[in-house]
């Protein structure tokens, strides 16, 4: 192994990339527009939820309730009759149907605890769950406010002060922006190294390298460092200018520490890119493989949905994937301001997984390189 070779081959990779306009556009897009778009495009969970009301009471209270639902959380309620309700739910026109029974207001004032029925289309999970909570609160508030004009209302003895830490207003944009950065680090690491290797193979330049006095280890290491540096720089720029600057997401921890985690992640994923490129025989096959590998990595790593709600087996299996550890470390550092004392287990795991992936990729690269030429 000679460092000189690794250095010059890496410079060559960088020069090649600089001439590849398509890839450059992809990198710039992934770390600017894509982040901005995914941060701002995620709708708040409850947005223009479709609600229909069957008002069998037609009292001032029921009117008051109907007028409490308005955009942007809810679409203006449709007033329907009882017969329509099921059909509309079946056809997916409404997510919620509120049934206010006859004599609701009278029973309420008489203290008879009348019951409002809220029908929820529970196949629409996201709206169904948060929405019914909101509706419940709105109903209680309206009923209480209405009732307070007529009689005393009991206040519970113990209060609950709930605060959300690290993202007090629970802005989806913060989460979306950071997760997009994380996902794009993985995506680009695999695509850049994999595509670079396949391009060399398709152009016959791998063959050329192999007749020179360079070892497969040198070829592979040069690709890993060159592409790693590109993604790392792009990632640092994106965090500073797009995430902190444009999107005004406050970053709690040290960006430098995050970049160390990203570097470890890149070590693992660039190796993975090389491995996939040795399995695929052509660029299209690489594209198909990429989809099959990238989606599980991103969706099951805990970046999209919480890890703890996945089946035990999936959780354990995903411990072998670098993304899982990277997501845990990134969230801890960027959102919660954690230091190395907190995230070192993830760093260690990333380093081990990276070393294993690098080793496997190198073995595979050595054994297939002959057939590539």
């Amino acid at each position: 192994m000679r460092l000189g070779h690794i250095w010059y081959l890496g410079i060559k990779e960088l020069r090649s990339l600089a001439r590849d306009r398509g890839m450059l556009v992809l990198i710039v897009y992934a770390f600017t527009l894509a982040i901005y778009a995914s941060a701002t495009a995620i709708p708040e969970t409850l947005n223009r939820a479709q609600i229909a009301i069957v008002d069998e009471d037609r009292s001032p209270l029921s009117m008051r309730i109907a007028s409490a639902f308005y955009p942007p959380y809810f679409a203006t309620p449709k007033m329907i009759d009882h017969a329509e309700m099921d059909n509309r739910l079946d056809a997916g026109l409404d997510t919620f149907a509120l049934d206010i029974p006859p004599d609701f207001q009278r029973d309420l004032l008489d203290g008879r605890q009348p019951t409002i029925q809220l029908n929820v289309d529970a196949t629409r999970m996201s709206q169904a769950f948060t929405g019914s909570g909101h509706i419940n609160t709105i109903l209680n508030d309206e009923v209480r406010a209405f009732a307070q004009r007529y009689r005393d209302v009991y206040e519970p003895p113990v209060g609950l002060t709930l605060r959300a830490r690290f993202n007090p207003e629970l802005k989806e944009a913060w989460f979306g922006a950071i997760m997009e950065v994380i996902n794009n680090v993985t995506l680009l690491a695999i695509v850049l190294t994999g595509a670079a290797l396949i391009r060399e193979r398709e152009h016959g330049t791998v063959e050329h390298l192999l007749v020179m006095p360079v070892t497969p280890f040198e070829i592979m290491t040069s690709k890993v460092w060159a592409m790693g540096v590109v993604v790392l720089v792009a990632c640092a720029v994106a965090l500073t200018f797009v995430v902190q600057g444009l999107l005004e997401v406050p970053i709690q921890g040290s960006i430098a520490l995050f970049l160390v985690a990203a570097a470890l992640q890149l070590f693992a994923t660039t190796s993975m890119g090389i491995f996939l490129a040795t399995v695929a025989r052509s660029m299209p096959q690489f594209g198909l493989l990429l989809i099959l590998v990238l989606l599980p990595l991103e969706m099951l790593s805990g970046g999209t949905t919480p890890r703890e709600s996945m089946p035990e087996a999936v959780q354990n299996l995903m411990l072998a994937a670098p993304n899982t550890h990277f997501v845990i470390a990134a969230k801890a550092i960027l959102f919660r301001g954690a230091g190395l004392d907190v995230v070192w287990p993830q760093f260690l795991a990333l380093a081990i997984i990276g070393a294993i992936l690098f080793g496997i990729a190198l073995m595979r690269f050595r054994s297939t390189i002959g057939t590539m030429a």
Partner: protein, 930 residues
């Protein structure tokens, strides 16, 4: 342009030309391929287009064949303008076109029989007729023993014979062959031309137009068009051209016809004799070198010895083992058997020291096109460890020697072939190797550049003592070698100086000598098949009374052609494991991933309590939480610092602080408040967690109130009864899995269908669609059909997976679901076809389809947010995109136990989407290349 010939001579007096070109120009981006061509190609003759690669021969032929759209000028073929679609449709059954490249328009996974059968069906022959023709054609071409072999596994010569069979299956009047014999060994070449001659004897009216880079071949044609740089240099019979230029051979005549500035530096190659002292040292030795790939032996016990400073030539057809042998010598491939020595040292792939003594130049141009000429030279110098201080001088030397000064800072991709080839040689020489291994370095280079290149090689050998091991197709290059080896089917037939070979075989030329050696070898291999085949040929072509093929004016839909494409697509799918795996296993994997991944359930939230009260009441409060399935209690907290640290690490999603005197203050009726912190890093989860905590809190209060007899006071004013319909347990999978099926059933079938069309574009077999009577709809429906079948298979599999693995109840009508699935599969594949009309490369098709299907399917079709909640652009997409309607149906059938009568409103738009996309694709699909 200079040299354009205004005086194109028609073939015979009075005979109408088969093709007439007037002012034809063609450019690809900045490159001018053809410049103002005026040309009449005589009918009933064997017309040759000669000239090196990349000068517009192929462009001209594709215009005549109608496979490429005319940009400027007029092209008349068989009495009508090729600019008119109706004329093209009428005459294409009379034209056969075999594009350049070995087996470019063949389907490599299909067998010989299936390939010819496919073409026969496109031209409207029925089954029996096709069978009869295939038997005749394969017998006459000697392919009969190989009818079941996949086209991809044929040798170069056999591929070209198969290409010819496919071209001849419909009895064309005009046969267009684009470099049919490039890369084919001399024997196969000879057989090929003999076949053409026989066919012409039987069908004297047939016109043949051939492009070739071999001057030896061109000499045998009736009439020639010499071309260079997109223009016609001269036309006439070979004798006329030679006479006009006053030269001895056609190659010399061609050089003489070239414009002055190209000819200026040309000198005939002179080869001084080798210095006598160098003979005793062996540079390369191979002994019993063998390479097997599976059960195929590519190189079979090859042995030879090459002396220092010798120029050693390797001759043979494509795929005969030349390249494999060279790769074993360079250490690129490990031999299965046998050994090789370079300078007395055994070749060891791990030994980097020998590599420094060797320079290698591969068949294709394989330098970095993204680096400039200088950067390429410097990189190679550094990798070969030329000392840093010597590099500038070394680069300078190479630039001078190989005349690269003018292009030193240019990128090689844009340079002419001859320059790139010199650059490759410069790079191979940068570390001053003692030996050069050159694999077909001169393919496609014009004769002048080739001579100049050879002069450089000769200088290297004679003045610098470099040993040169070179492979080539050109006989005149082989004649310049000190010694040559003839290779065939992995074996070295003979090794000797060229003149000795000619003398020994008693032939006139080296080519004839080579053919006689090959014939011997073939005869030993498989009996006397070739001569048999040749006699059979004449009979077969004369024998049958050819059925008049379906010709002309057919613009309506022809089921046979569509089914022919469908069969082709089906066979290709079955034989491509990666695509098939993606289609079947891939969607299953993705469903598992997404089913678990897009879970919106929040369970097992980890929490810990900072209990500063430590009473039964405070513990009771904690127990209230830890007893629920939504929360998991962790070690209690001791301090605020610990709380902070454990929340930062992400270990805790929720932390509670119960204040001191909690129990006492409650008892005394003072205001007490429990503090709770939720990890807000994941907003959706935090939102849900907040709901849980609030709910658990009120539950606890209610319980307390009940215990203290204040139940009625707390019970509130009114009850809200929430009924979670269709999914009473509010399980995420029940909601998500029926939504994932439409997503996967859109993305993957669309991608595979788009790929199947774009693959043909990228690999070149799309030309079969351009030049056969196949209509757009036939082509598209043919491509679509097998993909629909595949989509339905994966649909059934996904549905079973949903019920069995994810435990999602299937409550409604199964037939309704299946019909909807079929309509949706039609729509998804049609959408793939539509996307394919915009894409050129397979990789673009993959990512383009992913973007164009995932975004609308995930964001605008009600997977997460119902379409009715969307606004603006997203709403419009959601209303027309088939996924939205199919989603309503899958959710309806899976969870809401609905059937057709409840869902008919969603069926209409779903049923319309497929045909609409298909028609749009047919409108946008081009029937010619641009």
């Amino acid at each position: 342009m200079s040299g354009a010939s205004p005086h194109a001579v028609p073939g015979e007096e009075g005979a109408a030309p088969v093709a007439r070109l007037r002012g034809v120009s063609l450019r690809y981006g900045k490159v001018q391929a053809l410049a103002g061509i005026n040309l009449d190609l005589p009918a009933g003759r064997m017309v040759g287009l000669m000239g090196p690669d990349g000068i517009g021969k192929s462009s001209l032929l594709s215009l005549v064949a109608g496979s490429r759209a005319i940009q400027k000028g007029e092209v008349e073929v068989l009495g009508g303008s090729m600019a008119k679609a109706r004329h093209r449709q009428r005459v294409c059954p009379r034209i056969a076109y075999m594009p350049q490249g070995l087996g470019k328009n063949l389907y490599p996974t299909l067998s010989v029989y299936e390939n010819i059968d496919f073409f026969g069906a496109l031209f409207g022959h029925d089954h029996a007729e096709r069978k009869r023709r295939i038997v005749l054609l394969t017998q006459s071409t000697g392919l009969a023993p190989f009818v079941d072999r996949p086209a991809g596994k044929l040798s170069g010569g056999m591929k070209q014979k198969l290409g010819l069979c496919c071209a001849l299956v419909h009895d064309p009047d005009l046969l267009i062959l684009d470099e049919p014999t490039t890369g084919v060994d001399p024997l196969s070449r000879q057989q090929f031309w003999r076949m053409i001659d026989d066919i012409r004897r039987d069908r004297p009216g047939m016109s043949v137009v051939v492009a070739t880079a071999y001057m030896e071949e061109a000499a045998r044609f009736d009439w020639l068009v010499a071309m260079d740089a997109g223009a016609v240099l001269a036309t006439g019979t070979p004798a006329e051209l030679i006479a006009r230029t006053g030269t001895a051979s056609l190659e010399a005549a061609f050089i003489a016809l070239l414009p002055e500035e190209k000819r200026r530096d040309h000198r005939a190659v002179t080869i001084p004799p080798r210095s006598p002292g160098s003979d005793h040292e062996t540079a390369i030795e191979a002994r019993g070198l063998t390479k097997r790939f599976g059960d195929f032996t590519a190189v079979d016990h090859v042995s030879f010895k090459i002396k220092r400073s010798e120029i050693f030539g390797f001759l043979g057809s494509n795929g005969c083992g030349k390249t494999t042998t060279m790769k074993m010598l360079t250490g690129l491939l490990e031999p299965s058997e046998g050994k090789a020595w370079l300078f007395g040292q055994e070749v060891d792939p791990r030994d980097l020291a020998t590599r420094r003594r060797v320079g290698y130049m591969s068949q294709s141009f394989s330098l970095y096109t993204e680096l400039t000429v200088r950067q390429n030279l410097e990189l190679h110098a550094r990798l070969f460890e030329v000392p840093e201080t010597e590099i500038p001088a070394r680069v300078e030397e190479m630039v001078e020697r190989f005349q690269l000064a003018g292009v030193i800072d240019a990128y090689p991709g844009g340079l002419p072939l001859a320059l790139r080839q010199r650059l490759s040689l410069a790079v191979a020489m940068i570390h001053k190797p003692e030996m050069l291994i050159l694999d077909e370095p001169t393919s496609g280079v014009d004769p002048i550049a080739r001579d100049r290149f050879w002069q450089m090689l000769v200088d290297l050998s004679r003045s610098d003592g470099v040993t040169i091991f070179i492979s080539t197709h050109f006989m005149n290059e082989a004649e310049r070698c000190d010694r040559i080896s003839l290779m065939h089917a992995g074996k070295v037939l003979v090794t000797d100086p060229p003149e000795t070979l000619v003398r020994q075989s008693g032939a006139k030329t080296l080519e004839d000598a080579f053919i006689s050696y090959l014939e011997q070898a073939v005869a030993e291999d498989d009996g006397d098949q070739t001569s048999e085949a040749e006699t059979a040929l004449a009979d077969s072509m004369r024998g049958p009374e050819p059925e008049e093929p379906v010709r002309g004016g057919q613009r309506h839909f022809n089921l046979r052609r569509a089914m022919s494409y469908a069969r082709l697509e089906g066979l290709e799918l079955l034989r491509d494991p990666i695509r098939l795996t993606l289609a079947v296993v891939g969607s299953g994997i993705l469903m598992l991933v997404m089913g678990y991944g897009i879970s919106l359930d929040v369970e097992d939230l980890s929490f810990a309590v900072l209990d500063r009260d430590q009473t039964t009441t405070s513990r009771d409060y904690t127990l209230n939480l830890s007893g629920s399935r939504y929360f998991v209690e962790k070690e209690p907290l001791a301090s605020h610092q610990e709380l902070d640290k454990r929340m930062r690490s992400g270990e805790l999603s929720l932390a509670l602080e119960i204040p001191p005197n909690f129990a006492r203050d409650i008892a005394r009726g003072r205001d007490v408040s429990v503090a709770a912190w939720i990890d807000g890093a994941m907003p959706t989860r935090a939102d849900t967690a907040r709901g849980y905590v609030e709910a658990m809190h009120s539950l606890w209060l209610a319980e307390k109130a009940r215990q203290s007899g204040q139940e009625s006071a707390l019970a509130g004013l009114a009850n809200v009864e929430i009924r979670y319909r269709y999914n009473p347990d509010v399980r995420s999978v029940v909601a998500m899995v029926p939504a994932i099926i439409p997503l996967l059933l859109m993305m993957i079938p669309a991608m595979l269908t788009a790929l199947s069309v774009v693959r043909e574009k990228e690999l070149g077999s799309i030309v079969n669609f351009y030049v056969t009577p196949t209509t757009r709809l036939e082509f598209l429906i043919g491509k679509q059909f097998p993909n629909i079948v595949l989509a339905m298979l994966s649909f059934v599999m996904l549905a079973i997976l949903a019920v069995v693995v994810f435990d999602v109840p299937l409550k409604g009508s199964v037939p309704t679901l299946m019909v909807a699935g079929l309509l949706y599969a039609v729509a998804a594949t049609a959408l793939g076809l539509l996307i394919s009309t915009f894409m050129r490369s397979q990789i673009a098709a993959i990512f383009g389809t992913a973007v164009l299907t995932i975004l609308p399917a995930v964001s605008f079709s009600g997977m997460i947010d119902p379409v009715s909640s969307l606004e603006g652009f997203g709403r419009v997409i959601g209303e027309i995109y088939p996924t939205a309607h199919f989603l309503t149906i899958t959710r309806g059938v899976f969870s809401k136990s609905l059937s057709f009568s409840d869902l008919h409103a969603s069926f209409l738009p779903l049923a319309l989407a497929g045909p609409a996309a298909l028609i749009l694709a047919a409108v946008l699909l081009r029937k010619q290349e641009r």
